[in-house]
């Protein structure tokens, strides 16, 4: 599983950071980004799915294996 955050959609609610701080960093302006290339270790997958399901801006999503976005609402650019 690999995830990406669309920074143009992220508004800094920081729900993803609260759920998986191991994979997310938030800058001083509240914008979240994915650490590394967004590959999710298997033991974090459950919490990552919650992070995707709790984002009020639909800004975080799973990246399909071919690299295309596959977040529930449109795309999260890789």
């Amino acid at each position: 599983m690999r995830i990406a955050i669309d920074s143009s959609k992220c508004q800094g609610h920081a729900r993803c950071y609260a759920l998986v701080p191991e994979l997310i960093s938030v800058d001083d302006y509240g914008t979240s980004s994915v650490l590394g290339d967004g590959t999710v270790p298997p033991d974090l997958e459950e919490r990552v799915r919650l992070a995707i399901a709790n984002c009020p801006e639909f800004a975080i999503g799973e990246v399909a294996p071919d690299g295309a976005g596959a977040s529930p609402e449109g795309t999260a650019s890789a």
């Binding site: 800094g12 609610h13 800058d27 001083d28 009020p56």
Partner: protein, 400 residues
Amino acid sequence: MARTAPVDDWASDFDVMDPRYIADPFGIWDDLRATCPIAHTNRRGSNWLPTRYSDITAIAHDVSHFSSLEVAVIPFEGEEPEEPVLPYGLPPISSDPPLHTWSRRLLLPWFSHRRVAGYEEMTRDLCSGLIDGFIDEGKVDAAEGYAQQIPVRVIAHILGVPASLSDTFTGWVRDVLEFADDPERRMAGMEALITYFVEEVARRREQPGEDLLSELLRTEVDGAPLEEGLVLGTAALVLIAGVDTTWSAIGSSLWHLATNPEDSKRLATEPELMPTAIEELLRAYAPVTMARLVTGDVEVAGCPMKGGDRVLMNFPSANRDPEVFEDADKVRLDRAINRHVAFGSGIHRCAGSNLARMELRVALEEWLRRIPEFRLADADSVTWAGGQVRGPRVLPVVFG
């Protein structure tokens, strides 16, 4: 107390200052959502009240049709001064891009996770000290004696103004928000607040500190210092938006726990539930409604909105929409999927949301650690404020 005529038809003549709406709006929203999801009224101008999550988040994202130049739920009906002291209002909340974009960037770092973590210890000490003051009595007004005392002191610390003036600050903020339908009181509160900050700004120019006000005075944008009107507006915003809101969220959460002892028992014995519980209490008792000004004719869900109309951004009702939330009317402290919009949606997401969450969590943690079991002393004596910000104002509880 009520300055409004009673409402007979919520769909066509609603009034957010109606005492029934203030005390218990949930059933009204449920009815509207099912029958007329965007209500309208001609009270205080032409105002729309969306109730569905989908409409409210769509409007929040459409900043070209829905401006933030007027965010007060109750439009000011007094006489406007000829030369406003705050030419930009309270940026960034009362602005649109591009002013919104850069003025918000001035404020956000003060409420980052890193900064907010630095305010946690003082918040905990503050909560603990408040509880020390009343725990032996076995009773307290949890609104006035606890919830109301917390955010104002943290905000005073951030602004670098004396915590000893907390009750005065709280009074001004209540005048502006809670008594907004009394133009004289509202104007007097705003004037007192601005006069205070004008003096503080003069003092900071002489003796700068490390506080937000001093930092704003040091800030240059495009090579020029910020205009004083913008500094004053931003400082006023931090006080006005940072006090009533979080105090209301803490108060509503304590009201919920006092009236649902199984939940307070569960939260006291299963502290690992705190993260989902905080989000759930924010969802169920979201305190804040903001307004938007319609910039030109636009249709939303079949409703013909005209330029100059206002839309009341009913985030609290969005959070109760059964299309989005399972058992939307039930508080489930372990709700894992909770895409609530208590802090708004889109570019105006509450800039202080990290701080508000920390204050709410610490206030509940300290309360439940010392007072795991408590109940309302007298349900009939509980009073609520509403309109822009909903929360309990009198909340007598007993314990021990």
